[in-house]
Symmetry: C2
Subunit: 302 residues, 2 copies
Protein backbone atom coordinates (compact mmCIF):
# COMPACT_ATOMS: atom_id res chain seq x y z
CA UNK A 1 0.00 0.00 0.00
CA UNK A 2 1.40 3.41 -0.89
CA UNK A 3 -0.08 6.52 0.58
CA UNK A 4 0.93 10.15 0.61
CA UNK A 5 0.97 10.83 4.35
CA UNK A 6 0.44 14.42 5.43
CA UNK A 7 1.74 14.98 8.94
CA UNK A 8 -0.40 17.38 10.95
CA UNK A 9 0.99 20.78 11.97
CA UNK A 10 -0.40 20.26 15.45
CA UNK A 11 -2.64 17.96 17.44
CA UNK A 12 -5.77 19.02 19.32
CA UNK A 13 -6.71 17.13 22.51
CA UNK A 14 -9.84 17.25 24.65
CA UNK A 15 -9.12 15.04 27.68
CA UNK A 16 -11.82 14.93 30.30
CA UNK A 17 -12.71 12.73 33.24
CA UNK A 18 -14.22 9.96 31.14
CA UNK A 19 -13.16 10.55 27.52
CA UNK A 20 -10.09 11.30 25.39
CA UNK A 21 -10.52 12.82 21.95
CA UNK A 22 -7.73 13.81 19.56
CA UNK A 23 -7.61 15.53 16.17
CA UNK A 24 -4.76 15.81 13.62
CA UNK A 25 -4.86 19.45 12.49
CA UNK A 26 -3.35 21.69 9.84
CA UNK A 27 -2.13 25.14 10.81
CA UNK A 28 -5.20 26.71 9.24
CA UNK A 29 -7.61 24.68 11.33
CA UNK A 30 -8.43 21.83 8.95
CA UNK A 31 -9.07 18.38 10.46
CA UNK A 32 -6.92 15.68 8.82
CA UNK A 33 -7.95 12.81 11.10
CA UNK A 34 -9.57 12.14 14.44
CA UNK A 35 -9.48 9.47 17.10
CA UNK A 36 -10.86 8.91 20.58
CA UNK A 37 -11.59 6.47 23.36
CA UNK A 38 -13.01 6.20 26.85
CA UNK A 39 -9.56 6.45 28.43
CA UNK A 40 -10.56 9.43 30.58
CA UNK A 41 -8.24 10.92 33.19
CA UNK A 42 -10.09 9.22 36.04
CA UNK A 43 -9.14 5.75 34.78
CA UNK A 44 -5.41 6.40 34.41
CA UNK A 45 -2.41 6.55 36.72
CA UNK A 46 0.04 9.43 36.15
CA UNK A 47 2.61 7.18 34.47
CA UNK A 48 -0.01 6.13 31.92
CA UNK A 49 -0.87 9.62 30.61
CA UNK A 50 1.85 9.98 27.99
CA UNK A 51 1.74 6.40 26.74
CA UNK A 52 -2.05 6.59 26.46
CA UNK A 53 -1.91 9.79 24.43
CA UNK A 54 0.84 8.37 22.19
CA UNK A 55 -1.21 5.25 21.52
CA UNK A 56 -3.92 7.51 20.05
CA UNK A 57 -1.71 9.81 17.95
CA UNK A 58 1.41 7.76 17.05
CA UNK A 59 0.53 7.40 13.32
CA UNK A 60 0.41 11.19 13.03
CA UNK A 61 3.91 11.85 14.39
CA UNK A 62 6.92 12.49 12.11
CA UNK A 63 10.56 13.24 12.98
CA UNK A 64 9.90 16.81 14.03
CA UNK A 65 8.33 17.82 17.29
CA UNK A 66 4.55 18.28 16.90
CA UNK A 67 2.80 20.75 19.19
CA UNK A 68 -0.11 19.28 21.15
CA UNK A 69 -2.75 21.62 22.60
CA UNK A 70 -4.92 20.05 25.29
CA UNK A 71 -7.86 21.16 27.41
CA UNK A 72 -9.90 19.53 30.17
CA UNK A 73 -9.10 17.56 33.30
CA UNK A 74 -5.66 16.78 31.85
CA UNK A 75 -4.68 20.10 33.45
CA UNK A 76 -6.04 19.39 36.93
CA UNK A 77 -3.90 18.82 40.00
CA UNK A 78 -4.36 15.06 39.51
CA UNK A 79 -3.77 15.36 35.74
CA UNK A 80 -0.68 15.28 33.55
CA UNK A 81 0.47 18.70 34.76
CA UNK A 82 -1.47 21.30 36.70
CA UNK A 83 -2.45 24.37 34.71
CA UNK A 84 -3.75 26.51 37.60
CA UNK A 85 -7.23 28.02 37.35
CA UNK A 86 -7.42 31.67 36.23
CA UNK A 87 -9.86 33.88 38.14
CA UNK A 88 -12.87 35.47 36.46
CA UNK A 89 -13.59 38.05 35.21
CA UNK A 90 -11.09 37.22 32.46
CA UNK A 91 -10.82 36.15 28.85
CA UNK A 92 -11.62 32.46 28.43
CA UNK A 93 -8.26 31.59 26.90
CA UNK A 94 -5.19 31.76 29.14
CA UNK A 95 -1.56 31.07 28.38
CA UNK A 96 -0.97 27.36 27.99
CA UNK A 97 1.32 25.48 30.37
CA UNK A 98 4.15 23.38 28.97
CA UNK A 99 3.94 19.85 30.38
CA UNK A 100 6.89 17.44 30.62
CA UNK A 101 7.10 14.76 27.90
CA UNK A 102 9.51 11.84 27.64
CA UNK A 103 8.95 11.46 23.90
CA UNK A 104 10.61 14.28 21.95
CA UNK A 105 8.13 13.93 19.08
CA UNK A 106 5.51 15.91 21.03
CA UNK A 107 5.50 19.21 22.88
CA UNK A 108 2.59 19.28 25.29
CA UNK A 109 0.68 22.51 26.00
CA UNK A 110 -2.18 22.38 28.50
CA UNK A 111 -4.82 25.12 28.78
CA UNK A 112 -5.82 26.38 32.22
CA UNK A 113 -9.38 26.29 33.56
CA UNK A 114 -11.28 29.13 35.20
CA UNK A 115 -12.19 29.72 38.82
CA UNK A 116 -14.59 32.08 40.57
CA UNK A 117 -13.68 33.11 44.11
CA UNK A 118 -16.90 34.88 45.05
CA UNK A 119 -19.57 32.12 44.89
CA UNK A 120 -16.91 29.41 44.53
CA UNK A 121 -16.93 27.63 41.21
CA UNK A 122 -14.53 26.03 38.72
CA UNK A 123 -14.45 24.84 35.12
CA UNK A 124 -11.94 22.88 33.03
CA UNK A 125 -12.60 22.40 29.34
CA UNK A 126 -15.68 24.59 29.01
CA UNK A 127 -13.46 27.71 28.93
CA UNK A 128 -12.04 26.38 25.65
CA UNK A 129 -15.54 25.97 24.22
CA UNK A 130 -16.31 29.52 25.29
CA UNK A 131 -13.13 30.71 23.56
CA UNK A 132 -14.20 28.80 20.45
CA UNK A 133 -17.62 30.42 20.48
CA UNK A 134 -16.15 33.90 20.96
CA UNK A 135 -13.61 33.31 18.15
CA UNK A 136 -16.57 33.41 15.75
CA UNK A 137 -18.70 35.91 17.71
CA UNK A 138 -16.20 38.28 19.38
CA UNK A 139 -18.86 40.90 20.16
CA UNK A 140 -21.27 38.50 21.89
CA UNK A 141 -22.76 39.94 25.06
CA UNK A 142 -25.05 37.54 26.86
CA UNK A 143 -25.25 34.04 28.30
CA UNK A 144 -23.62 30.80 27.25
CA UNK A 145 -25.16 27.58 28.55
CA UNK A 146 -22.96 24.49 28.23
CA UNK A 147 -25.10 21.45 29.10
CA UNK A 148 -23.38 18.28 30.31
CA UNK A 149 -22.85 16.11 33.37
CA UNK A 150 -22.08 19.39 35.11
CA UNK A 151 -23.86 22.11 33.17
CA UNK A 152 -22.22 25.55 33.15
CA UNK A 153 -24.01 28.87 32.74
CA UNK A 154 -21.62 31.75 31.92
CA UNK A 155 -22.18 35.47 31.63
CA UNK A 156 -20.08 36.88 28.77
CA UNK A 157 -19.35 40.54 28.21
CA UNK A 158 -16.62 42.42 26.30
CA UNK A 159 -14.85 39.16 25.43
CA UNK A 160 -14.60 38.09 29.07
CA UNK A 161 -16.25 35.51 31.29
CA UNK A 162 -17.80 37.76 33.93
CA UNK A 163 -19.27 35.02 36.15
CA UNK A 164 -20.42 31.43 35.88
CA UNK A 165 -22.32 28.78 37.77
CA UNK A 166 -22.26 24.97 37.72
CA UNK A 167 -25.29 22.69 38.04
CA UNK A 168 -25.00 18.94 38.69
CA UNK A 169 -28.28 18.28 36.87
CA UNK A 170 -26.86 15.67 34.49
CA UNK A 171 -25.09 13.74 37.24
CA UNK A 172 -28.21 13.87 39.44
CA UNK A 173 -30.33 12.50 36.60
CA UNK A 174 -27.87 9.66 35.99
CA UNK A 175 -27.58 8.74 39.69
CA UNK A 176 -31.32 8.87 40.39
CA UNK A 177 -32.30 7.13 37.17
CA UNK A 178 -29.72 4.37 37.51
CA UNK A 179 -29.18 3.78 41.22
CA UNK A 180 -32.14 5.08 43.26
CA UNK A 181 -35.55 3.51 43.86
CA UNK A 182 -36.70 5.48 40.80
CA UNK A 183 -34.77 3.11 38.52
CA UNK A 184 -37.66 0.65 38.74
CA UNK A 185 -39.96 3.21 37.12
CA UNK A 186 -37.52 4.79 34.67
CA UNK A 187 -36.07 1.74 32.97
CA UNK A 188 -33.12 1.83 30.62
CA UNK A 189 -34.43 3.60 27.53
CA UNK A 190 -33.90 7.23 26.61
CA UNK A 191 -37.33 8.29 25.29
CA UNK A 192 -38.92 11.31 27.00
CA UNK A 193 -42.62 12.10 27.01
CA UNK A 194 -42.67 15.73 25.92
CA UNK A 195 -45.84 16.73 27.75
CA UNK A 196 -44.63 15.26 31.06
CA UNK A 197 -41.25 16.96 30.58
CA UNK A 198 -42.79 20.40 30.02
CA UNK A 199 -45.27 19.94 32.89
CA UNK A 200 -42.59 18.94 35.39
CA UNK A 201 -40.41 21.92 34.40
CA UNK A 202 -43.29 24.36 34.82
CA UNK A 203 -44.30 22.88 38.19
CA UNK A 204 -40.77 23.01 39.56
CA UNK A 205 -39.98 26.52 38.33
CA UNK A 206 -43.12 27.83 40.02
CA UNK A 207 -42.40 25.97 43.29
CA UNK A 208 -38.76 24.82 43.42
CA UNK A 209 -38.88 23.34 46.93
CA UNK A 210 -41.43 20.81 45.66
CA UNK A 211 -38.59 18.97 43.92
CA UNK A 212 -38.12 17.20 47.26
CA UNK A 213 -41.62 15.71 47.02
CA UNK A 214 -41.81 15.30 43.24
CA UNK A 215 -39.00 12.76 43.15
CA UNK A 216 -40.61 9.99 45.19
CA UNK A 217 -43.95 10.81 43.58
CA UNK A 218 -42.55 9.53 40.28
CA UNK A 219 -42.25 6.10 41.90
CA UNK A 220 -45.55 6.32 43.79
CA UNK A 221 -47.57 7.22 40.68
CA UNK A 222 -46.08 4.22 38.91
CA UNK A 223 -46.80 1.87 41.84
CA UNK A 224 -50.40 3.03 42.21
CA UNK A 225 -51.46 3.58 38.62
CA UNK A 226 -48.68 2.25 36.39
CA UNK A 227 -46.68 4.73 34.33
CA UNK A 228 -44.90 4.54 30.99
CA UNK A 229 -41.12 4.67 31.62
CA UNK A 230 -40.91 7.48 29.06
CA UNK A 231 -43.29 9.51 31.25
CA UNK A 232 -41.47 8.72 34.51
CA UNK A 233 -38.12 9.54 32.87
CA UNK A 234 -39.51 12.82 31.51
CA UNK A 235 -40.81 13.75 34.97
CA UNK A 236 -37.40 13.14 36.55
CA UNK A 237 -35.63 15.06 33.79
CA UNK A 238 -38.17 17.89 33.96
CA UNK A 239 -38.07 18.21 37.75
CA UNK A 240 -34.26 18.47 37.76
CA UNK A 241 -34.21 20.79 34.75
CA UNK A 242 -36.88 22.96 36.35
CA UNK A 243 -34.77 23.28 39.49
CA UNK A 244 -31.77 24.32 37.39
CA UNK A 245 -33.78 26.87 35.41
CA UNK A 246 -35.27 28.31 38.61
CA UNK A 247 -31.79 28.84 40.06
CA UNK A 248 -30.29 30.02 36.75
CA UNK A 249 -33.05 32.55 36.13
CA UNK A 250 -30.75 35.54 36.80
CA UNK A 251 -28.68 34.25 33.89
CA UNK A 252 -31.31 33.63 31.22
CA UNK A 253 -34.05 36.12 32.04
CA UNK A 254 -34.13 38.79 29.33
CA UNK A 255 -30.71 37.82 27.95
CA UNK A 256 -29.54 36.42 24.62
CA UNK A 257 -28.68 32.77 25.29
CA UNK A 258 -26.47 30.46 23.23
CA UNK A 259 -26.40 26.69 23.89
CA UNK A 260 -23.18 24.74 23.35
CA UNK A 261 -23.74 21.02 23.80
CA UNK A 262 -24.36 17.66 22.19
CA UNK A 263 -27.32 17.58 19.80
CA UNK A 264 -29.43 15.63 22.35
CA UNK A 265 -28.75 17.99 25.25
CA UNK A 266 -29.13 21.07 23.06
CA UNK A 267 -32.59 19.85 22.00
CA UNK A 268 -33.59 19.21 25.62
CA UNK A 269 -32.38 22.59 26.90
CA UNK A 270 -33.82 24.45 23.93
CA UNK A 271 -37.29 22.99 24.61
CA UNK A 272 -37.03 23.90 28.28
CA UNK A 273 -35.86 27.45 27.57
CA UNK A 274 -38.42 28.11 24.84
CA UNK A 275 -41.18 27.24 27.32
CA UNK A 276 -39.81 30.15 29.41
CA UNK A 277 -39.92 32.49 26.40
CA UNK A 278 -36.19 32.29 25.67
CA UNK A 279 -35.09 31.31 22.14
CA UNK A 280 -31.46 30.19 22.36
CA UNK A 281 -29.09 29.80 19.44
CA UNK A 282 -27.65 26.28 19.24
CA UNK A 283 -24.03 25.25 18.69
CA UNK A 284 -22.25 21.91 18.54
CA UNK A 285 -19.91 21.29 21.47
CA UNK A 286 -17.35 19.29 19.45
CA UNK A 287 -16.98 21.95 16.77
CA UNK A 288 -16.75 24.67 19.40
CA UNK A 289 -14.08 22.81 21.38
CA UNK A 290 -12.00 22.37 18.25
CA UNK A 291 -12.45 26.05 17.36
CA UNK A 292 -11.20 26.98 20.85
CA UNK A 293 -8.18 24.69 20.66
CA UNK A 294 -7.40 26.19 17.24
CA UNK A 295 -7.56 29.68 18.73
CA UNK A 296 -5.12 28.55 21.41
CA UNK A 297 -2.78 27.11 18.76
CA UNK A 298 -2.89 30.39 16.86
CA UNK A 299 -1.94 32.32 20.01
CA UNK A 300 0.88 29.87 20.67
CA UNK A 301 2.39 30.43 17.22
CA UNK A 302 1.88 34.20 17.09
CA UNK B 1 -26.44 -27.94 78.96
CA UNK B 2 -29.89 -27.76 80.48
CA UNK B 3 -32.08 -24.74 79.96
CA UNK B 4 -35.68 -23.92 80.67
CA UNK B 5 -36.90 -22.88 77.21
CA UNK B 6 -39.91 -20.57 77.05
CA UNK B 7 -41.51 -20.65 73.62
CA UNK B 8 -42.82 -17.27 72.49
CA UNK B 9 -46.55 -16.71 72.09
CA UNK B 10 -45.92 -14.98 68.81
CA UNK B 11 -43.12 -13.63 66.65
CA UNK B 12 -42.76 -10.04 65.49
CA UNK B 13 -41.10 -9.37 62.10
CA UNK B 14 -39.97 -6.14 60.47
CA UNK B 15 -38.83 -7.09 56.95
CA UNK B 16 -37.75 -4.23 54.75
CA UNK B 17 -35.84 -3.82 51.52
CA UNK B 18 -32.43 -4.26 53.12
CA UNK B 19 -32.97 -5.70 56.61
CA UNK B 20 -34.82 -8.47 58.43
CA UNK B 21 -35.46 -8.19 62.17
CA UNK B 22 -37.35 -10.67 64.33
CA UNK B 23 -38.43 -10.75 67.96
CA UNK B 24 -39.69 -13.63 70.11
CA UNK B 25 -42.62 -12.16 72.05
CA UNK B 26 -44.92 -13.03 74.91
CA UNK B 27 -48.62 -12.32 74.61
CA UNK B 28 -48.28 -9.32 76.90
CA UNK B 29 -45.62 -7.70 74.72
CA UNK B 30 -42.44 -8.79 76.47
CA UNK B 31 -39.39 -9.47 74.31
CA UNK B 32 -37.88 -12.91 75.01
CA UNK B 33 -35.21 -12.82 72.30
CA UNK B 34 -34.29 -10.96 69.14
CA UNK B 35 -32.42 -11.69 65.94
CA UNK B 36 -31.71 -9.97 62.63
CA UNK B 37 -29.65 -9.85 59.48
CA UNK B 38 -29.21 -7.97 56.24
CA UNK B 39 -31.34 -10.48 54.33
CA UNK B 40 -33.70 -7.78 53.06
CA UNK B 41 -36.47 -8.50 50.57
CA UNK B 42 -34.49 -7.05 47.68
CA UNK B 43 -31.80 -9.73 47.99
CA UNK B 44 -34.14 -12.72 48.00
CA UNK B 45 -36.05 -14.72 45.44
CA UNK B 46 -39.66 -15.66 46.30
CA UNK B 47 -38.73 -19.27 47.09
CA UNK B 48 -36.19 -18.03 49.65
CA UNK B 49 -38.61 -16.01 51.81
CA UNK B 50 -39.90 -18.77 54.07
CA UNK B 51 -36.59 -20.60 54.48
CA UNK B 52 -34.86 -17.31 55.30
CA UNK B 53 -37.40 -16.43 57.95
CA UNK B 54 -37.23 -19.93 59.44
CA UNK B 55 -33.44 -19.74 59.65
CA UNK B 56 -33.86 -16.70 61.93
CA UNK B 57 -36.63 -18.03 64.17
CA UNK B 58 -36.27 -21.85 64.19
CA UNK B 59 -35.03 -22.10 67.81
CA UNK B 60 -38.19 -20.34 68.97
CA UNK B 61 -40.63 -22.75 67.35
CA UNK B 62 -42.34 -25.54 69.31
CA UNK B 63 -44.88 -28.15 68.18
CA UNK B 64 -47.79 -25.71 68.05
CA UNK B 65 -48.33 -23.18 65.32
CA UNK B 66 -46.83 -19.80 66.30
CA UNK B 67 -48.42 -16.67 64.87
CA UNK B 68 -45.99 -14.38 63.02
CA UNK B 69 -46.92 -10.72 62.52
CA UNK B 70 -44.87 -8.97 59.85
CA UNK B 71 -44.68 -5.46 58.43
CA UNK B 72 -42.64 -3.82 55.66
CA UNK B 73 -41.78 -4.72 52.08
CA UNK B 74 -42.59 -8.36 52.87
CA UNK B 75 -46.14 -7.31 51.94
CA UNK B 76 -45.33 -5.69 48.61
CA UNK B 77 -46.32 -7.12 45.24
CA UNK B 78 -42.79 -8.54 44.92
CA UNK B 79 -42.83 -9.76 48.55
CA UNK B 80 -43.97 -12.94 50.23
CA UNK B 81 -47.65 -12.11 49.69
CA UNK B 82 -49.18 -8.82 48.65
CA UNK B 83 -51.06 -7.00 51.39
CA UNK B 84 -52.66 -4.28 49.26
CA UNK B 85 -52.25 -0.63 50.29
CA UNK B 86 -55.13 0.94 52.22
CA UNK B 87 -56.10 4.47 51.20
CA UNK B 88 -55.77 7.40 53.60
CA UNK B 89 -57.48 8.92 55.49
CA UNK B 90 -57.60 5.79 57.61
CA UNK B 91 -56.32 4.24 60.83
CA UNK B 92 -52.70 3.15 60.51
CA UNK B 93 -53.39 -0.47 61.35
CA UNK B 94 -55.34 -2.53 58.81
CA UNK B 95 -56.41 -6.13 58.90
CA UNK B 96 -53.46 -8.44 58.38
CA UNK B 97 -53.29 -10.74 55.36
CA UNK B 98 -52.66 -14.43 55.86
CA UNK B 99 -49.73 -15.55 53.72
CA UNK B 100 -49.13 -19.13 52.60
CA UNK B 101 -46.54 -21.15 54.55
CA UNK B 102 -45.18 -24.61 53.84
CA UNK B 103 -44.07 -25.13 57.41
CA UNK B 104 -47.05 -25.71 59.72
CA UNK B 105 -45.14 -24.38 62.74
CA UNK B 106 -45.82 -20.80 61.65
CA UNK B 107 -48.93 -18.86 60.62
CA UNK B 108 -47.87 -15.79 58.69
CA UNK B 109 -49.83 -12.51 58.98
CA UNK B 110 -48.67 -9.54 56.92
CA UNK B 111 -49.76 -5.97 57.61
CA UNK B 112 -50.83 -3.76 54.69
CA UNK B 113 -49.18 -0.43 53.83
CA UNK B 114 -50.92 2.88 53.16
CA UNK B 115 -51.47 4.74 49.92
CA UNK B 116 -52.55 8.27 49.10
CA UNK B 117 -54.36 8.77 45.79
CA UNK B 118 -54.44 12.57 45.71
CA UNK B 119 -50.76 13.55 45.58
CA UNK B 120 -49.66 9.94 44.97
CA UNK B 121 -47.66 8.40 47.77
CA UNK B 122 -47.13 5.05 49.48
CA UNK B 123 -45.66 3.63 52.68
CA UNK B 124 -44.93 0.11 53.93
CA UNK B 125 -43.69 -0.39 57.47
CA UNK B 126 -44.02 3.19 58.70
CA UNK B 127 -47.77 2.69 59.18
CA UNK B 128 -46.88 0.12 61.86
CA UNK B 129 -44.62 2.62 63.61
CA UNK B 130 -47.44 5.15 63.48
CA UNK B 131 -49.79 2.57 65.01
CA UNK B 132 -47.20 1.92 67.71
CA UNK B 133 -46.92 5.61 68.50
CA UNK B 134 -50.70 6.03 68.65
CA UNK B 135 -51.07 2.96 70.88
CA UNK B 136 -49.37 5.01 73.60
CA UNK B 137 -50.75 8.41 72.57
CA UNK B 138 -54.23 7.72 71.18
CA UNK B 139 -55.26 11.38 71.36
CA UNK B 140 -52.25 12.75 69.46
CA UNK B 141 -53.21 15.40 66.92
CA UNK B 142 -50.24 16.68 64.96
CA UNK B 143 -47.35 15.59 62.78
CA UNK B 144 -45.22 12.46 62.85
CA UNK B 145 -41.88 12.62 61.06
CA UNK B 146 -40.24 9.23 60.37
CA UNK B 147 -36.71 9.89 59.12
CA UNK B 148 -35.00 7.25 56.99
CA UNK B 149 -33.78 6.50 53.49
CA UNK B 150 -37.23 7.72 52.44
CA UNK B 151 -38.42 10.05 55.18
CA UNK B 152 -42.19 10.20 55.76
CA UNK B 153 -44.12 13.14 57.17
CA UNK B 154 -47.64 12.23 58.28
CA UNK B 155 -50.54 14.34 59.50
CA UNK B 156 -52.39 12.52 62.30
CA UNK B 157 -55.83 13.45 63.58
CA UNK B 158 -58.51 11.53 65.48
CA UNK B 159 -56.46 8.33 65.34
CA UNK B 160 -56.17 8.43 61.54
CA UNK B 161 -53.43 9.17 59.05
CA UNK B 162 -54.96 12.14 57.23
CA UNK B 163 -52.20 12.64 54.65
CA UNK B 164 -48.49 11.94 54.23
CA UNK B 165 -45.54 12.80 52.05
CA UNK B 166 -42.29 10.99 51.24
CA UNK B 167 -38.89 12.65 50.80
CA UNK B 168 -35.89 10.85 49.29
CA UNK B 169 -33.47 12.96 51.33
CA UNK B 170 -31.60 10.00 52.83
CA UNK B 171 -31.18 8.23 49.50
CA UNK B 172 -30.05 11.47 47.82
CA UNK B 173 -27.45 12.01 50.54
CA UNK B 174 -26.14 8.47 50.14
CA UNK B 175 -25.98 8.65 46.33
CA UNK B 176 -24.35 12.08 46.18
CA UNK B 177 -21.94 11.40 49.03
CA UNK B 178 -20.87 8.00 47.74
CA UNK B 179 -21.13 8.10 43.94
CA UNK B 180 -21.06 11.71 42.68
CA UNK B 181 -18.12 14.07 42.21
CA UNK B 182 -18.84 15.26 45.76
CA UNK B 183 -17.45 11.99 47.17
CA UNK B 184 -13.94 13.41 46.77
CA UNK B 185 -14.79 16.19 49.24
CA UNK B 186 -17.02 14.25 51.61
CA UNK B 187 -14.90 11.21 52.36
CA UNK B 188 -16.12 8.18 54.24
CA UNK B 189 -16.56 9.44 57.82
CA UNK B 190 -19.82 10.42 59.45
CA UNK B 191 -18.87 13.55 61.44
CA UNK B 192 -20.93 16.68 60.68
CA UNK B 193 -19.78 20.23 61.34
CA UNK B 194 -22.74 21.70 63.24
CA UNK B 195 -22.27 25.28 62.10
CA UNK B 196 -22.06 24.32 58.43
CA UNK B 197 -25.12 22.08 58.82
CA UNK B 198 -27.24 24.85 60.35
CA UNK B 199 -26.01 27.41 57.81
CA UNK B 200 -26.81 25.21 54.81
CA UNK B 201 -30.31 24.48 56.15
CA UNK B 202 -31.05 28.16 56.70
CA UNK B 203 -29.74 29.13 53.23
CA UNK B 204 -31.76 26.45 51.48
CA UNK B 205 -35.00 27.10 53.36
CA UNK B 206 -34.82 30.76 52.45
CA UNK B 207 -34.02 30.06 48.79
CA UNK B 208 -34.84 26.43 47.91
CA UNK B 209 -33.97 26.66 44.20
CA UNK B 210 -30.37 27.40 45.19
CA UNK B 211 -29.96 23.73 46.07
CA UNK B 212 -29.11 23.27 42.39
CA UNK B 213 -26.08 25.55 42.76
CA UNK B 214 -25.12 24.68 46.33
CA UNK B 215 -24.30 21.08 45.46
CA UNK B 216 -21.40 21.68 43.09
CA UNK B 217 -20.25 24.56 45.27
CA UNK B 218 -19.39 22.01 47.99
CA UNK B 219 -16.81 20.56 45.59
CA UNK B 220 -15.63 23.94 44.27
CA UNK B 221 -14.99 25.38 47.75
CA UNK B 222 -12.90 22.33 48.57
CA UNK B 223 -10.93 22.55 45.32
CA UNK B 224 -10.21 26.26 45.70
CA UNK B 225 -9.69 26.60 49.44
CA UNK B 226 -9.59 23.10 50.90
CA UNK B 227 -12.45 22.02 53.16
CA UNK B 228 -12.69 19.63 56.11
CA UNK B 229 -14.75 16.59 55.01
CA UNK B 230 -16.93 17.12 58.10
CA UNK B 231 -17.79 20.58 56.76
CA UNK B 232 -18.45 19.39 53.20
CA UNK B 233 -20.58 16.52 54.52
CA UNK B 234 -22.53 18.89 56.76
CA UNK B 235 -23.16 21.22 53.80
CA UNK B 236 -24.52 18.37 51.69
CA UNK B 237 -26.67 17.10 54.54
CA UNK B 238 -27.89 20.62 55.35
CA UNK B 239 -28.72 21.53 51.76
CA UNK B 240 -30.81 18.38 51.30
CA UNK B 241 -32.43 18.70 54.73
CA UNK B 242 -33.21 22.37 54.02
CA UNK B 243 -34.93 21.40 50.80
CA UNK B 244 -37.03 18.82 52.65
CA UNK B 245 -37.96 21.25 55.42
CA UNK B 246 -38.91 23.93 52.87
CA UNK B 247 -41.26 21.51 51.13
CA UNK B 248 -42.57 19.98 54.38
CA UNK B 249 -43.28 23.39 55.94
CA UNK B 250 -47.09 22.91 55.66
CA UNK B 251 -46.60 19.87 57.91
CA UNK B 252 -44.41 21.25 60.69
CA UNK B 253 -45.33 24.93 60.83
CA UNK B 254 -47.22 25.61 64.05
CA UNK B 255 -47.87 21.92 64.71
CA UNK B 256 -46.81 19.52 67.45
CA UNK B 257 -44.17 17.27 65.85
CA UNK B 258 -42.97 13.84 67.01
CA UNK B 259 -39.86 12.24 65.52
CA UNK B 260 -39.69 8.45 65.17
CA UNK B 261 -36.28 7.31 63.96
CA UNK B 262 -32.86 5.96 64.84
CA UNK B 263 -31.01 7.94 67.51
CA UNK B 264 -28.65 9.44 64.89
CA UNK B 265 -31.41 10.58 62.53
CA UNK B 266 -33.57 11.82 65.41
CA UNK B 267 -30.68 14.00 66.59
CA UNK B 268 -30.14 15.40 63.08
CA UNK B 269 -33.81 16.17 62.47
CA UNK B 270 -34.30 17.60 65.94
CA UNK B 271 -31.43 20.06 65.41
CA UNK B 272 -32.84 21.09 62.06
CA UNK B 273 -36.37 21.53 63.40
CA UNK B 274 -35.31 23.42 66.53
CA UNK B 275 -33.54 25.96 64.30
CA UNK B 276 -36.99 26.58 62.77
CA UNK B 277 -38.54 27.07 66.19
CA UNK B 278 -40.11 23.60 66.37
CA UNK B 279 -39.32 21.42 69.40
CA UNK B 280 -40.18 17.84 68.46
CA UNK B 281 -40.61 14.97 70.87
CA UNK B 282 -38.26 12.08 70.07
CA UNK B 283 -39.07 8.36 69.89
CA UNK B 284 -37.05 5.29 69.05
CA UNK B 285 -38.06 3.64 65.79
CA UNK B 286 -37.33 0.08 66.94
CA UNK B 287 -39.43 0.37 70.07
CA UNK B 288 -42.24 2.01 68.11
CA UNK B 289 -42.22 -0.70 65.44
CA UNK B 290 -42.44 -3.39 68.09
CA UNK B 291 -45.26 -1.53 69.83
CA UNK B 292 -47.15 -1.39 66.51
CA UNK B 293 -46.63 -5.08 65.80
CA UNK B 294 -47.84 -5.84 69.33
CA UNK B 295 -50.98 -3.78 68.71
CA UNK B 296 -51.55 -5.80 65.53
CA UNK B 297 -51.08 -9.07 67.47
CA UNK B 298 -53.61 -7.91 70.07
CA UNK B 299 -56.16 -7.15 67.35
CA UNK B 300 -55.52 -10.55 65.78
CA UNK B 301 -56.24 -12.36 69.03
CA UNK B 302 -59.23 -10.28 70.13
Amino acid sequence: MTSQLTYPDWIAVDWGTSNLRVWAMTSDGEVLARNGSEHGMSDLAPDEFEVTLLSHIAPWLGRDTTPVIACGMVGSRQGWAEAPYRAVPTTPLGQSHAAPCKDSRIAMHILPGLKQERSADVMRGEETQIAGYLADAPDFDGILCLPGTHTKWAHISAGEVVSFQTFMTGELFDLLGRDSVLRHSIGEGSALDQEAFAGAIADTISRPEAVATQLFKIRAVDLLHGADPAVSRARLSGVLMGLELAAARPYWLGQPVALIGTPALNTLYKKALMAQGVEPSVHDADATTLRGLTAAYNELTC
